[in-house]
């Protein structure tokens, strides 16, 4: 109960710390914003190649720029979900600060939530910038409920965060060579429909490869968000990806927390918390 009351203060502490570390590299933020604008502009011009060529089967891709921008914005968020904790743990290990954080009366779930909080703040901002630049400079229109899209975003991010916890557990024990990062990093961009419709995988690569997209939470998240934002669908029409994500969350959350606590216990047994 005491820990729960202190949770907001501790999350705030991590966010402020990471914000201060972030602004200590002054050019970094500016460069990220400019690069996002550059990507959006490039995609705008590429999208012009496809004007009038859109297949009726791919309703979410009538405006390819809108599909890419939602894909990139959401992918950016999803990547944060699964990678931020492992990288936060790894960074603390490399810096040598993990022990000093673990010395404070802070429990593991709090470390999990708090150490990646700033990354989510950043990801939210950058995801917003993708959508904003598209709307402001290139006349991209978004329909449907932003609130429902947000629910999808949060749910998918939570599922990916569970995989992130598994990834962090790997970083804790093996230090390097995290298979989750490789699988989800390249897998999400390729198989979850960020740049092209997943139906094309079945048509051109067979059912074997297309089944990969079916086990990726990002596929369901992106599908749900695009159905809502680009096709203007309501909740009744997006229950399938929604329920799938809920089941994934129900299975992965307890498992990943259990694995993480085992990883920390192992690192404590081996005395390798600050080794990297």
């Amino acid at each position: 109960m005491h820990s729960l009351k202190l949770l907001p203060r501790r999350i705030y502490a991590f966010v402020v710390r990471d914000f201060r570390l972030f602004v200590s590299y002054r050019m970094l933020f500016f460069i990220r914003v400019v690069s996002i604008l550059g990507v959006v502009t490039t995609l705008f011009f590429i999208s012009k190649i496809f004007v009038g060529f859109t297949d009726a089967r791919f309703s979410q891709w009538r405006d390819p720029l809108a599909a890419w921008l939602t894909g990139l914005a959401v992918l950016n968020y999803f990547m944060t979900g699964f990678s931020s904790l492992a990288s936060a743990i790894r960074q603390e290990q490399v810096q040598g600060t993990l022990e000093s954080v673990l010395l404070t009366p802070i429990n593991l779930p709090t470390i999990i939530v708090a150490s990646s909080a700033w990354d989510f703040v950043q990801a939210t901002l950058f995801a917003f910038l993708y959508l904003f630049f598209g709307w402001f400079f290139f006349n991209v229109h978004y329909a449907g409920s932003f609130l429902l899209a947000l629910v999808f975003l949060i749910l998918t991010t939570l599922v990916l965060a569970c995989l992130g916890i598994l990834s962090a557990s790997f970083a804790m024990v093996f230090k390097r060579g995290d298979p989750f990062g490789v699988f989800l990093g390249t897998g999400s961009a390729l198989f979850s429909g960020v740049f092209f419709p997943t139906q094309l995988l079945t048509e051109y690569a067979g059912s074997g490869l297309s089944s990969v997209s079916k086990v990726l939470p990002a596929t369901y998240g992106l599908d749900g968000i695009r159905r809502v934002l680009l096709e203007g669908r309501g909740f009744a029409e997006v229950t399938e990806p929604f329920v799938t994500l809920l089941i994934m969350l129900g299975l992965l959350l307890p498992f990943s927390l259990w694995v993480f606590s085992r990883a920390v216990r192992r690192a404590k047994r081996e005395g390798s918390l600050i080794q990297y």
Binding site: R10, V16, L21, T97, E99, L102, L103, I106, L273
Partner: protein
Amino acid sequence: MQPSAPLNSDRDSVLASNAPIALGSGERTLSISHLSKTYPVPFARSKAILRRKTKAPVEALRDVSFDVYRGEIFGLIGRNGAGKTTLTKIVATLVQPTRGTVTVNGFDSVHDDERVRMQVGLSGAEERSFYWRLTSEQNLVFFARLYGLGGRVAKQRIAALFTQLELEEVVRKRFGELSTGNKQRLAVARALLPNPPVLLLDEPTRSLDPLAALRMRELIKALAQQDPPATILFTSHNLAEVETLCSRVAIISAGEIRAVDSPTTLRSINSDAEVIRLTVSGLLREQAEAVLNSQFEHLQFAHGEQVELISFTRRSADDRLDEALRKVHQAGGTILNVESERPTLLDVLESYEAQK
């Protein structure tokens, strides 16, 4: 802060040996019972299956037991790799023991680790435990929040600690820009942030200049005497400092506690012999030899500038000193100075290491 006595030199005074052992309030704060720690070889089973050579597991601690009482400054001395840091980390819940228990104010370090961490402040020798691109103040504010200290309370506490540890000039300096000594002091400030009842101080005066080290010792003494008093587990390679500060000392060697007692008792158990050095004038060496020879152990003479320097060994309770002074007087000599050199903790440590 309480003023402290200057550090004892290796040539300790005879009088100091009679200082009583102060065991704080008598209330047991830190209890270590049959503690053993063996660092396992990572992935030993997989390596065995793959028939890869593996190192033997490292036995860092073996059946370590002792108690530390409220308000006590308890020293832990030993060579590098003796097990001091492992022991400290187990108390701080950073490393799990293989066997045995550690309790802090009744809380078990494995099962109640969060509560133990609320009771314990650790100042280690690890420089990398801070964020180098944050200022000293920003670092402490971050850790204060993790300890649950709110805005104004945290700021007041941090300001007080900066003053207490003479860090006012580096408040807004990035940690990476601090001198090694200031980094060390900031680590102590962080350990003190939640005002913990138990402090684990791992070489807190390392890298400090002599004056700063003296102030740090004064602060440590004051912390043990404040109300409520802090219980301090103190490790240092500066044995003179350990003798000055600690009411009891544990000698750890190859993961085993070889002895626990007051520095005075440890010295006397180890050897109650002391070397007496007399500076005498008005007496020729031949005369001195004639009156003292054959009655004193390890008798040695040296000739100084118009004086004779005489040294011999005696047991602390015998009458050899009195006898020597009388004989020198009777032979017409004038005693200008008497010095006694007793065994130090270094001698004690050496003897335990030699017994291994």
